[in-house]
């Protein structure tokens, strides 16, 4: 891009913040109205205007009124398309943001609802992060745009500036409006790749081994020496051999007590990523865990809510 154009663009962005991607952040249900919708002709629109001018001069030169009438009609239709383009964006509501979770370095999936109350809006395009998503917004409903945002660091990731635009109906005019919602996606810390398991206070030796209990685990063939009360008489009656109920109870896993201070000689980020790995592992293996941070304590529990609470606290560690 030539220097002059670049400087002009920079000037425009400074002077007309709402016209450009410099628009200030704003709360989320964003309703587009006439003061923030901009229209310029596209390259095709400019070219077509030149062509119309040529047609006009030709028709005037040959004093051909039929051709002049046709030229006027085509020009009028293309001028009218400007208003139709404006109406595509006018009154559109951008709201209803939902997002998935992601750990730093992964992509986070974002769902954005674009709604319209009255008319159907054709070919609404949303530019996010260099990619264009096209939707048709139904009348009185909403269309959902799905996109992935790359993440790098834990913590709040502000939504990028997005541009809502359209070239409907004839591609001669582009209407656009910049969106800069003041919403952010929470990115969980990146767990470390590998490392030690957390310290567990050792109990009796057969901790973790199966031991007899009263839950039915399986049925097996009778072996000499099995106690009679374990024989499944009813089931054995339908078999040619005796079946024995194998009763077992897995050892209850020990709760993990994860503690910020239990790690020595590690910097904060390493601690966070190790704790994140432990929380992940604890959830995956189905055990209960507690988490102690310098400024908070999450008591022993399990489940998604507990997990998200812990991860949020880790993600937001200063």
């Amino acid at each position: 891009m030539p220097d002059a154009v670049q400087r002009l663009t920079a000037w425009a962005e400074r002077r007309l913040p709402s016209l450009t991607r410099m628009r200030q952040r704003e709360p989320m249900p964003i309703v587009l109205h006439r003061r923030r919708i901009y229209i310029v002709p596209t390259g095709f629109g400019l070219g077509f205007t030149v062509l119309l001018a040529v047609m006009l001069i030709g028709a005037l030169n040959y004093a051909n009124n039929a051709a002049l009438l046709l030229t006027c009609l085509v020009g009028s239709v293309s001028a009218g398309s400007m208003l139709v383009a404006f109406r595509v964006l006018n009154g559109i509501t951008v709201g209803g943001l939902r997002m998935g979770t992601a750990r730093a370095g992964e992509n986070v999936r974002v769902f954005l609802d674009i709604g319209a109350s009255q008319r159907e809006r054709m070919a609404v395009r949303l530019d996010v992060d260099g990619r264009e998503h096209v939707v048709v917004v139904p009348a009185g409903g909403a269309a959902t745009v799905e996109f992935d945002l790359p993440t790098e660091f834990r913590g709040w990731l502000p939504l990028p500036r997005m541009r809502l635009h359209s070239r409907w109906p004839l591609g001669m005019f582009r209407v656009w409006s910049w969106l800069n919602p003041d919403r952010a996606v929470l990115v969980y810390p990146r767990p470390e790749g590998m490392g030690p398991t957390p310290f567990e206070p050792q109990g009796d030796a057969d901790r973790g081994r199966p031991r007899p209990g009263d839950e039915l685990a399986s049925l097996r063939e009778y072996r000499a020496g099995d106690p009679r009360r374990l024989i499944a008489w009813k089931l054995s009656a339908r078999h040619h051999s005796l079946l024995v109920k194998d009763l077992e109870q897995p050892a209850p896993q020990e709760d993990w007590r994860l503690d910020w201070d239990s790690m020595h000689g590690l910097d904060d980020e390493s601690r966070i990523s190790r704790l994140a790995r432990w929380v992940d592992e604890a959830r995956e293996s189905g055990r209960r865990w507690s988490l102690r941070l310098p400024d908070g304590y999450f008591d022993v529990a399990q489940g998604d809510e507990h997990y998200h609470r812990c991860m949020t606290a880790l993600a937001l560690r200063p």
Partner: protein, 663 residues
């Protein structure tokens, strides 16, 4: 380039391939363009382009990519060669449009992406317009205007998210609606765009004359014209209308005869002298003739503006009539033209080629001897001979031999106006009476609906004028002696009479339909094609501006367009507020409270909001609590808010006058 991109990010480099639906529509647009140009393109070019178009359409339907260069380049070369060899040049109206249409179809060969479709449609719009350079009748214009529909549909379909979703009705209706809505602005622009008083560059050259009349008349030449139903001109009268048998419109007078054909010949310089006062005031709308002559009702008193009168009382426009031309003229029914004849003119009007028509000369000499040189009696004798001598009126006359006069008079004895007027003039000259052939139009069809006389090319006619001592030039129509219907009904009708009655074409409903259609055409010619810079200047007369200058027109154009744009903007900006009557009043209440410093938060319920407002504005606590209660009752107690509680709510809102709290 896709427009203003304030971000520095690179635009997506690769445009998507055109959807099949868009490509089909593009093909349809191109087919339309070829169709509207077909009437003037050579048939083989039309056929060839149609084949290329269909082949490309089929090929892409089967998923083919665009054809390789080694097919496209030779095709362009072939197109160039064919056009140059046919027309001899690449420039000018006909070869230019042929080349443009050809290129357009070839462009389709390489149309793959969005950009190609747009370029194609833009160029198609240009080609559509150029078709109107050949024919600007109402039908042609309407058909060409219809071509905008597929073009706009193509543009819409390339913007469409899922082109497969589109159905014909869903696609066509918005386009038609857009066209209809655009008409006011288009008409306004059409009326007020300043016309050029002289062309910027050369007007199109049209080499073939299309007139029904020419300045040369040889018996047997006119038959084609006499069956041509194309309108030649329309005449409306301001005041009395001449009776059917005297509707003679003079175009040429012919004095020179070479034995085969008549041609204008010698004309005196000084003006002829006409005695008589104007009786008929009329206005002629003449179809383009590519000539200068203006047919004038017998006998013209003065020349129309922008035309000059020659000494034979025929009028010549100052420039060639390449478009519909309207002129006002006056005529007199009772007149005396050239009471005295100067010797030179007399000689010219007695001139006869040697060795032609010896038997006719003998016949003339016999009449001179019989009537003692009484011109009227001689003329009557000749007319009586035509009437009683076994002459027949037919448009399919037998071909004449070398001596056209004798052969007709004593041989075939069948023919139409040219034969009769030519022979009659010859006989009169042979008898020593100055005579000349006059060609023009006679008769015409009175359109009662439009109150005008429609004259077709088929009404072309030839008659004779004799110079009689003391009376000047007097019109004689020898054809009328043979077949009076020719003078009252017209050439084709006169030929048909006796050949077998009422034809399908003469059925009353058919005639009335044609009347209406001709009124429409006439209206189109006057309102649209005839709307030139002169008429435009008179456009502002009702507003007191006698002669609108370009500047005035531009101002009116700008003001009018702005007004229309304001109307359109109002439409575009208008947005139905959501909700019902109750919501309207709730919004008003919110505005009032906002001014008082209590703003409703996003997501705050009405009850909570009004409770908060009541805390913030203790003076109005009672009123606000009441409002809250009424609102809840009307909103939630019924499906629809009952009107009486809405009015109660609105009254309370109106009464509430909160003052701004000082914090």
């Amino acid at each position: 380039m896709t427009g203003f991109r304030p971000s520095l990010r690179a635009r997506p480099s690769d445009e998507p391939r055109l959807a099949p639906r868009s490509f089909d529509l593009l093909c349809l647009t191109m087919a339309f363009v070829v169709g509207v140009h077909a009437p003037h393109l050579p048939w083989w070019l039309t056929a060839g382009l149609a084949v290329v178009l269909v082949a490309r359409w089929q090929q892409r339907r089967r998923g083919g990519r665009h054809p390789p260069v080694w097919i496209k380049v030779p095709l362009i070369g072939l197109l160039l060669a064919l056009i140059v060899s046919t027309y001899g040049t690449l420039f000018g109206r006909e070869p230019g449009s042929a080349f443009a249409v050809g290129l357009l179809v070839l462009k389709l060969m390489e149309s793959e992406r969005l950009r190609d479709a747009r370029v194609g449609v833009a160029f198609a719009a240009f080609a559509l317009m150029s078709a109107l350079l050949f024919d600007q009748s109402i039908v042609a214009t309407l058909i060409v205007a219809l071509g905008i529909v597929p073009a706009v549909m193509t543009l819409r379909s390339v913007e469409e998210v899922e082109p497969a979703r589109m159905r014909l009705r869903v696609e066509v209706m918005p386009v038609l609606l857009a066209l209809v809505v655009s008409i006011p602005l288009a008409l306004f622009a059409f009326l007020f765009i300043p016309r050029l008083s002289s062309p910027l560059w050369g007007a199109p050259t049209i080499d073939r004359a299309t007139t029904g009349l020419s300045d040369r008349m040889a018996p047997g030449d006119m038959a084609e014209v006499l069956t041509d139903d194309t309108p030649a001109m329309r005449v409306s009268f301001d005041g009395p209308v001449p009776i059917a048998s005297s509707r003679y419109f003079r175009a040429f007078t012919m004095t020179r005869f070479d034995g085969q054909a008549w041609s204008p010949g010698f004309l005196r310089r000084d003006d002829s002298v006409l005695e008589g006062s104007a009786r008929f005031h009329y206005r002629v709308t003449l179809e383009p003739t590519r000539e200068r002559v203006l047919p004038m009702l017998d006998m013209p008193v003065t020349a129309p503006t922008d035309a000059s009168m020659r000494s034979d009382r025929t009028a010549l426009a100052n420039q060639r009539l390449d478009k519909t031309y309207t002129y006002d003229a006056t005529a007199t029914g009772e007149y005396r033209l050239d009471a005295t004849l100067d010797p030179q003119t007399r000689r010219a009007n007695l001139q006869l080629p040697a060795n032609v028509g010896p038997r006719a000369r003998a016949q003339a000499a016999a009449w001179v001897a019989q009537f003692g040189g009484n011109p009227t009696a001689i003329a009557q004798a000749a007319l009586a001979m035509f009437h009683d001598g076994g002459f027949r009126y037919t448009l399919a006359a037998a071909p004449l031999g070398r001596d056209r006069i004798d052969d007709f008079l004593f041989g075939t004895r069948e023919g139409y106006c040219e034969h009769y007027s030519s022979t009659f003039t010859f006989l009169m000259r042979a008898a020593g009476i100055p005579a000349r052939v006059v060609t023009g139009y006679q008769g015409g069809y009175w359109n009662a609906l439009g109150h005008y006389l429609l004259i077709r090319r088929a009404d072309a006619h030839a008659w004779t004028e004799l110079w009689l001592e003391g009376r000047g030039w007097v019109r004689f129509d020898p054809t009328g002696a043979v077949r009076p219907e020719r003078v009252t009904l017209g050439a084709a009708a006169a030929a048909a009479v006796g050949d077998g009655g009422d034809s399908f074409f003469n059925a009353a409903w058919w005639r009335s339909a044609r009347d209406r259609w001709d009124v429409v055409n006439q209206w189109w010619n006057q309102a649209v094609n005839g709307f030139d810079s002169l008429r435009q200047q008179g456009l502002l007369q009702p507003f007191g501006i006698r002669r609108a200058e370009v500047g005035d027109l531009a101002i009116v154009l700008a003001i009018g367009c702005s007004l229309l744009v304001v109307v359109a903007l109002g439409w575009a900006l208008f947005q139905r507020r959501e909700g019902d009557e109750l919501d309207v009043w709730m919004r008003r209440l919110q505005r009032k409270l906002e001014k008082a410093g209590v703003t409703r938060r996003a997501g705050e319920g009405p009850k909570h909001f009004m409770a908060r407002a009541a805390r913030a504005l203790p003076d109005h606590r009672n009123a606000l609590e009441r409002l809250s209660e009424v609102y809840s009752r009307s909103r939630y107690a019924n499906d629809e808010p009952p009107p009486e509680s809405v009015s109660e709510f609105s009254r309370a809102v109106k009464e509430l006058r909160p003052r701004r709290v000082v914090k």
